[in-house]
Subunit: 337 residues, 2 copies
């Protein structure tokens, strides 16, 4: 059998409903738990740092099945409070009980902004809040609410640093399959849909061989200090072509670091790392760039929540390629929805 | 790149909202169009039977991107009316115009039960209404409404016959991965979720080599005559083991036939056919059966819409295996949701 289960159709709902329900089904938790890059990183960050957790009060924001809460309890936390607004928390409560951890782990169903915690302050916040493109349908806003309301001065956040990276890729074959497909569908012109497809970044895994530029970090987020406002940003980037090739798309991924650990635990969701369920995010250009080694591609990325549906992200990429064969520039609007 | 795009989380919404929005995103239409077993079967059934479509009025129930409507127009229909309640129909209108077919194809946004057609009767109904397990989130109810309200006596329905098939499979490895996974998740017992996973049929592709019984048709649906009430049914099945093996699951698939064609066009979604996006539906047994060649497995399948959420399907499978090593019987409740 192949490994994919029911792939439900994409819901296009009010953000609140969609968010609320999207984590109720066990399938999404199965996918996240089986993402070993993700889960083992959290396991290592927590269990290899018992000296940080011993006797502490820990808050798990968006606890899901309770896996991180149970890691924290196992690491010696005095009390772990897990909060989640999804119905999955009913299962998590049973799981915590089945593992004999009910005396250490308290799970609360509700929104972080509304639930009443049994404590005024917590020593450590743990959370797996990251979405596609780091910020799409992410829970980072909620982590910041929890941080500002509950984290004791000098308290720790697991993880505490995220970086966003960009490079360019040759991707002619897959572009044909995903974008140019709409030019001729069983003899019919469906370019009306091609336009939409071009504006939606594609979340997929990319062969590292496809990368034909250097890569750079365009955004670093310090989760201990960042504000909600700073999550809407414009950031410059500068990459350099590494071979004679065509550039069909720009590629974004993120890395995560637990710098509070005795020895930092880190993982990447980039194409050179092991597979993660976040894959990478591909932004197709309307036309490929014709590039030679050494040529620069510069530009800036703007990312901000959509005005009417704040769970969607509007992304604008301005780029300029100064090449031997051509100089091209443009500003492209994308939407993750 | 792998071929899978964003896999949105499973929504657990009121049926109406979920249905309404799930077809708005182009990704689901891309998947359906790229299912060549599906789309080429419709193309053949329609375009190889121009003598049936020439000068006729055709209704396309749930027209989506308009592909079937355009096939019908190309086959010589005088007028094709496509109806869909999803926002995708806005794109379909543009597609029909872009292909110069606006004079022959009229698209109407709304529920079949509510839209006002420009004609009183239609000669042919075309529809791709099939869901997982044939009936899950299917639009067959809507096709029946359209048939009873608009189809002229002696009119045709494409397709007009569906059969549902059952067999048993050996599936030990994958069962471990999908079900027994929950026994020990990074050292924690998550059997609270295993219980849920066992009750939800798994939609996935099965290796035909895994089949270790005969298969049988347990339900035949004549779409020209079936009533909505007959779609809630109990049907017996009788299969026979073909080798010494273990049976881990029962497997259901469906075949579709366009019997109205001059020469019937048919396709299967079974494991011995080419891949389709419907895959097959796997019902795990709590414990495997120990089987020898020739032994019978008998039982009955009940399928009916859930009382509170009629888009969900409650499925009960009663089975009895009379074997040399053991005799086992049981009644298992599943829910597709």
């Amino acid at each position: 059998m192949a490994s994919n289960s029911i792939t439900p159709a994409k819901a296009d709902l009010t953000s609140k409903d969609y968010y609320f329900d999207s984590y109720a089904h066990f399938g999404i938790h199965e996918e996240m738990l089986k993402d070993e890059v993700r889960t083992v990183s959290y396991q290592n960050a927590i269990l290899q740092n018992k000296h940080l957790f011993e006797g502490k009060v820990v808050l798990d924001v968006g606890c899901g099945t309770g896996i991180l809460s149970m890691f924290a309890a196992k690491a010696g936390a005095k009390l772990v409070i897990g909060v989640d607004m999804s119905n999955i928390i009913d299962k998590a409560k049973q799981i915590v009980a089945d593992n004999g951890l009910s005396d250490k782990v308290t799970l609360l169903k509700g929104k972080m902004e509304e639930v009443v915690l049994p404590v005024d302050h917590v020593d450590i916040i743990i959370s797996e809040w990251m979405g596609y493109f780091l910020l799409y349908e992410s829970m980072l806003d909620t982590v910041l609410v929890a941080r500002d309301k509950y984290l004791t001065p000098g308290g720790l956040i697991f993880p505490d640093t995220a970086t966003m990276h960009i490079a360019a890729i040759e991707d002619g074959d897959y572009r044909k399959e995903k974008i140019d497909f709409w030019d001729d569908v069983y003899g019919f012109n469906m370019r009306a849909i091609k336009e939409v497809a071009l504006k939606e970044p594609l979340v997929d895994t990319v062969d590292p061989e496809a990368i034909n530029t250097t890569d750079c970090i365009f955004k670093t987020i310090d989760i201990t200090t960042v504000t909600k406002e700073e999550l809407a940003f414009t950031a410059p980037f500068h990459i350099q072509c590494t071979r004679r090739d065509y550039v069909h798309a720009l590629l974004v991924w993120f890395d995560i670091s637990f710098d509070a650990c005795h020895k930092p635990v880190r993982f990447t969701t980039g194409p050179r790392g092991k597979y993660t369920h976040w894959k990478q995010t591909v932004f197709y250009l309307p036309e490929p760039l014709v590039t030679e080694a050494g040529e620069p591609i510069t530009g800036e990325i703007t990312s901000r929540p959509n005005d009417t549906n704040p769970r969607d992200i509007d992304i604008t990429i301005k780029y300029r390629h100064e090449g031997e064969k051509e100089t091209k520039e443009g500003a492209l609007d994308y939407r993750m929805c």
